[in-house]
């Protein structure tokens, strides 16, 4: 009919049909569950009494802060996510949510989680949470991810901080113990994450297997696992955590080491894939079991005097 009508259609704003579930998916709920678990352990092992309401507030803020990081990460990586089968189903590549919408959502959650943690609990924890979000979004996603193959190693620091934030929330200060938890998660991340390659190659992200080849990656996975086992066992002889934790860390560490050696030795494609999957599955169990042992040991030590 007329040019005016045609333009009106072209300029009509895009109206969202995104559901609550799409926004929930932006929070990376599976990553969030691990963050909440490690933060809970940080709270449990912190000395002194924390009021349950403050503990729940801290966990909620840390969870929402982690979710905000996930949403901001997805807002910035819609182009990469669309190219990889693992991430093609995320809300942005599927066209359910636009990048600016995810950005606004993530910024809002980040703002409120940091502010709430700072006002209601303490500002050391609030500042650490802000730093965690900054590190994940700016240092890892915007700066390192597309530039260096060490992206996941350095970026892992963001995922390692939640127990430190939780400890700060409980005590209002920092100490060696939360830093030990930080180091354990920090060295646990590379063996888990280094071997994702096919998809990343297509998306042009410089992951280690793409840049340095699978053999160099296998060696690094083995080396990081050796450091991880040593770092996880060290708190026992150093006197920070007790014998139950120490023995559990050695047994679990032996399992990790055996599987990492398996990954290093098996180089035929099908065998290598199976070995990597086994290490991946076990490493999640490893961290869960290690942290659960630590939390149970501390809880037991607290309850024991009242029983005997």
């Amino acid at each position: 009919m007329s040019v005016v009508d045609h333009n009106a259609i072209e300029l009509a704003p895009r109206i969202s049909e995104a559901d609550v579930a799409d926004y929930f998916a932006l929070l990376k709920p599976r990553v969030m569950s691990l963050v909440v678990f490690t933060a809970l352990v940080g709270l449990v092992i912190a000395p002194g009494h924390v009021h349950p309401v403050l503990a729940i507030t801290a966990l909620l803020c840390i969870a929402v802060g982690a979710g905000a990081s996930g949403a901001l990460n997805m807002a910035l990586e819609g182009d990469i996510d669309a190219l990889m089968s693992r991430t093609a189903n995320r809300p942005i590549p599927r066209g359910r949510i636009t990048s600016p919408e995810a950005m606004a959502f993530g910024m809002t959650l980040a703002f409120f989680s940091v502010l709430t943690l700072g006002i209601l609990v303490n500002w050391i924890a609030g500042s650490l949470l802000a730093f965690t979000i900054f590190f994940y979004v700016v240092v890892y996603t915007m700066w390192l991810k597309r530039r260096t193959a060490q992206n996941i190693v350095i970026g892992g620091a963001a995922g390692s901080l939640p127990p430190v934030v939780a400890w700060a929330a409980a005590t209002g200060s920092l100490s060696v113990e939360p830093l030990l938890l930080f180091l354990i998660i920090f060295f646990w991340t590379p063996p888990l994450a280094l071997f994702r390659s096919d998809d990343y190659a297509r998306a042009g992200v410089p992951m280690l297997p793409v840049v340095a080849g699978p053999d160099a990656t296998r060696l690094q996975i083995l080396l990081y696992t050796i450091v991880l086992v040593a770092v996880a066992a060290a708190p026992w002889p150093l006197g920070y955590f007790d014998a139950i934790y120490g023995i559990a860390s050695l047994i679990l560490g032996a399992g990790m080491l055996a599987l990492a050696i398996n990954v290093y030795r098996r180089r035929a494609r099908a065998e290598s894939l199976r070995a990597t999957r086994k290490l991946f599955a076990f490493s999640i169990l490893y961290l869960f079991a290690l942290f659960a042992t630590l939390a149970l040991e501390v809880a037991f030590r607290a309850i024991a005097p009242t029983i005997w």
Binding site: S16, V20, Y23, V53, T57, L120
Partner: protein
């Protein structure tokens, strides 16, 4: 002038209205949780929740 029809503007489809309503409810619930949280912590820490050294 008076008999000119009102412009339609943007008319939302049923699906758009439904998803908007669900998102609105989720935002309302989140705000409710925030209010309850501030109330509960104020009870725990006393009325001086905002009045303390940083």
């Amino acid at each position: 002038m008076a008999d000119r029809p009102e412009p339609d503007g943007i008319v939302l489809t049923e699906a758009q209205k439904r998803s908007r309503r669900r998102r609105s409810i989720a935002i309302a619930l989140a705000l409710g949780v925030l209010v309850v949280l501030f109330f509960a912590v104020t009870l725990v820490k006393g009325p001086a929740v905002l009045n303390r050294p940083l």
